[in-house]
């Protein structure tokens, strides 16, 4: 995450609907005042919106009664939280050691070329977000690629293109 993130962008992005905001307010109300609530709240809110843009973080800070910088600090610390919109499908390539030595790196390079987008970014048409992840613990079937909720095992570089094309 770049430190030069534009904090002046204050208006709520258009894709965040009023239903989503109501849901965020409900989540915050249920956790307000509870110790250690911030991370679970952010997890739930990201499930609702899909990502956590600054205006959403400010809303959460306001409703939870915690300083905005604390919400921003936690959001940017953990890799599960994203401040950018994500694709309809998230393709996660495991870069754990076992997957790495068994061809995970080649799989990722092939995908970057095929989707024409570098790792940890989203394609322009928002069809795919391509990510690398730290060991999914499925080393027995390395290399592993997780597309949305489907775990694909023993994915070799020359099979990956076919595989992702199944996700519209």
């Amino acid at each position: 995450m770049s430190l030069a993130y534009d904090l002046t962008q204050v208006s709520m992005p258009e894709d965040v609907t009023s239903e989503m905001l109501t849901r965020i307010d409900e989540i915050c109300a249920a956790h307000r005042g509870k110790p250690g609530a911030l991370i679970p709240v952010l997890q739930k809110c990201q499930e609702v919106v899909g990502y956590l843009p600054v205006p959403v973080q400010e809303r959460i800070a306001d409703k939870l009664g915690v300083p905005g910088h604390e919400v921003y600090g936690v959001t940017t610390f953990y890799s599960f939280f994203s401040m950018e919109p994500r694709g309809r499908h998230v393709i996660r390539v495991c870069m754990g050691t076992a997957c790495y030595v068994r061809g995970g790196k080649e799989v990722l390079e092939r995908l970057e070329r095929h989707l024409n987008t570098p790792v940890d970014t989203t394609t322009e048409d928002r069809r795919f977000t391509l990510e690398q992840v730290r060991c999914l613990g499925a080393c027995g079937v390395a290399p592993v690629v997780v597309a949305d909720l489907d775990t694909h095992r023993k994915v070799m570089a020359d099979k990956i293109v076919e595989l992702v094309e199944n996700y519209e």
Binding site: Q43, G73, S79, C135, A138, V141, V144
Partner: protein, 624 residues
């Protein structure tokens, strides 16, 4: 069912033991004559085990065998690479790589005809013979199970099955018959050391916390298994979640705690699901909550899901994260046993450590201490992966040589034209052990002497196609990315080390780079705040110790001996070595290779995308 008493527990145990008797070679209940235990761990699920289970149940119903044959979904069996796997009882026959389409034949032949389906049995990679019984397969035969005792033996989602295997008896004994001091003494006697990696004596940690003053104390479980290439904790949580719950209640009694958390990484959805189910079931039986088993002791437990930060495996960072903050470590002392979560006395152990506790209490510390070496007691679970035939989870007594694990249990290197190069232990905090030290035994001190650490159990075997400089670069990339940024030596130092390693793998290294790497490594080790930085340079130092020549080849000759670093490859065919087999030509994804029978291959460098598919497929190392 409402809260149960000790007598109820004994009754459930007896009933459930009978229901599982078939799996121990005894007569089953009623008309039941066969149990089919199909693995439902993450690896096997990825391979389609749920569809196999559904198909099995449907076929068994279709044949009218429901009263005779039961299908059980178990937790991780450990032999993940061959999934979906299934064990049948009472025979103990082991089936591998099952598919939905095999089910009809399986039911007809195995369940109805009494004839095992030969083609689905495990095939030994060495002798190429089929081995029907699980107990005869070297991968299983040489293991000794304590932490993994119940793997693939029971339905991980049933508390009754766990109780049937003697579950919650250790807890009942600790709560009913033992004083907090007795519990600590028993754990100390066992010699158990923390299985998360550092190997701190567990009993001693508990004693510090027991003696700490304060009416609020916490018991935590570290299930933030972050080392790449490690899945011991995931597997235990998926296969035997109640063992962790039981262990934590015992510790709670020992230190006088009434609340605990399991900090589990969000990358493990199935483990979280099974553990939550286990907690709910334990609460329903009153094995968690108020007045457990009518003993007057109360303890409650909650899961806290991490949000993706490796440093949260460090104890003080983990506690900050549960407090809802950025997971950054803080200096010690004070140690968590005095001031941990929310500044209250806290003990934190990892999943594998917890899974050992119930049996130590049930069977006694002396029993546990009778296994292992002088200073490392009991067993250790390893996740055996990489370039090895049998990939999976392995539990061996301390004192077992690494060679036994890799060659007897793992059955060696899969590709015939490849040779063993090194085994990596301890992930980003650990190191590589080469061939000449393979007789090193599993023992905390012995492994350190060989230049690695026991670590949490990741064991990655590498053949000679692995570049050790690139391996060091891989781990350094990991460490610098996961560095929390709080202390300068780790934040800046690891980044500089990575830059140098990248330069070397790109063929732009200078001989001085190696001295600079060593100098930086020493400084980062000594000056970093937490274990992440203090151990981060280890992979570089251990590869420099054993594979210095390989670094020199990159720096001086601008060559990668393992032919792995793309920038140092020319993608040309050595016509003397080329056996004209055409495998490179057949596998090239962009048709950049020209080849005719009886002629060496030629690579068109304008078309070549340097994907290395040809190099991986060439059995004669003819492409350089």
């Amino acid at each position: 069912m409402s809260q149960i008493s000790i007598n109820d527990l004994a009754e459930i145990q007896q009933r459930s033991q009978q229901a599982q008797a078939l799996r121990h070679g005894q007569a089953g209940v009623g008309t039941q004559r066969m149990h089919l235990l199909v693995c439902g761990g993450t690896g096997c699920q990825a391979a389609g085990s749920i569809a196999v289970i559904d198909a099995l149940r449907a076929e068994i119903a279709k044949q009218g065998l429901e009263e005779e044959v039961a299908v059980v979904e178990t937790g991780c069996n450990g032999f993940c690479a061959l999934g979906p796997v299934m064990v049948t009882y009472p025979e103990g026959i082991f089936y591998v790589n099952l598919e939905e389409t095999d089910v009809a034949e399986l039911v007809e032949s195995h369940c109805m005809g009494g004839e095992p389906v030969e083609r689905l049995l495990y095939k030994d990679p060495g002798t190429k013979k089929r081995i029907p019984h699980m107990r005869d397969i070297p991968f299983f035969a040489l293991q000794r199970l304590i932490a993994l005792k119940n793997r693939s033996m029971l339905d991980a989602e049933s508390i009754d099955e766990y109780i049937g295997q003697g579950g919650y008896q250790g807890m009942a004994k600790a709560l009913k018959q033992m004083s907090p001091e007795d519990i600590v003494a028993e754990v100390k006697k066992s010699g158990l050391r923390g299985r998360g990696g550092a190997g701190f004596p567990t009993g001693m940690k508990w004693e510090f916390c027991q003696k700490a003053t304060g009416d609020t104390k916490f018991v935590l479980c570290n299930a933030d298994e972050g080392d790449p290439g490690a899945f011991m904790d995931r597997s235990i949580l998926e296969a035997d979640p109640h063992a962790v719950v039981e262990g934590m209640v015992i510790a709670a009694k020992a230190i006088g705690s009434h609340f605990g958390y399991v900090y589990c990484r969000a990358e493990y959805p199935l483990a979280v699901h099974r553990l939550q189910l286990a907690i709910d079931q334990a609460k329903e039986y009153g094995l968690l909550g108020d007045d457990i088993l009518g003993t007057g002791f109360s303890f409650d437990l909650q899961i806290y899901q991490g949000a993706g930060a490796f440093v949260c495996g460090e104890e003080t960072a983990l506690m900050r994260s549960i407090e809802g903050k950025r997971g950054m470590p803080r200096p010690r002392p004070p140690f968590p046993a005095q001031a941990g979560l929310w500044n209250k006395p806290t003990i934190l152990n990892n999943v594998e450590t917890w899974a050992n506790i119930p049996q130590i209490i049930s069977n006694g510390g002396d029993w546990y201490a009778s296994i292992g070496t002088e200073r490392s007691k009991g067993t250790k679970v390893f996740a055996l992966t990489g370039h090895v035939n049998n990939i999976g989870l392995v539990e061996v007594p301390m004192g077992t040589p690494l060679r036994t694990i890799i060659y007897d249990i793992g059955e060696g290197i899969p590709k015939k034209h490849r040779k063993f190069k090194a085994v990596q232990l301890g992930g980003p905090s650990g190191g590589c052990i080469p061939e000449e030290h393979l007789d090193t035994i599993c023992d905390y001190e012995a492994i350190v002497k060989a230049g690695a650490i026991m670590g949490s159990g990741g064991m990655i075997v590498m053949d000679d196609s692995t570049c050790m400089v690139d391996m060091a670069r891989f781990f350094m990339d990991f460490v610098q990315d996961e560095s929390c940024g709080k202390c300068t030596p780790c934040r800046e130092g690891t980044r500089r080390m990575l830059q140098i390693l990248e330069r070397i793998t790109e063929g732009k290294g200078e001989p001085e780079d190696i001295d600079t790497l060593e100098e930086l490594a020493e400084m980062i080790q000594e000056a970093s705040l937490c274990g992440l930085g203090q151990t981060g340079p280890n992979p570089v130092l251990s590869t420099l110790r054993y594979f210095r020549d390989e670094y020199m080849a990159h720096v001086v000759d601008k060559k990668c001996p393992a032919r792995s670093c793309v920038a140092l490859l020319e993608f040309k065919v050595d016509v003397d070595k080329c056996k004209k087999c055409g495998l490179c030509f057949k596998n090239c994804p962009v048709d950049a290779i020209a080849w005719k029978k009886k002629e060496p291959a030629v690579i068109d460098l304008d078309k070549c995308i340097k994907c290395k598919t040809c190099i991986e497929n060439c059995k004669y190392d003819a492409i350089y």
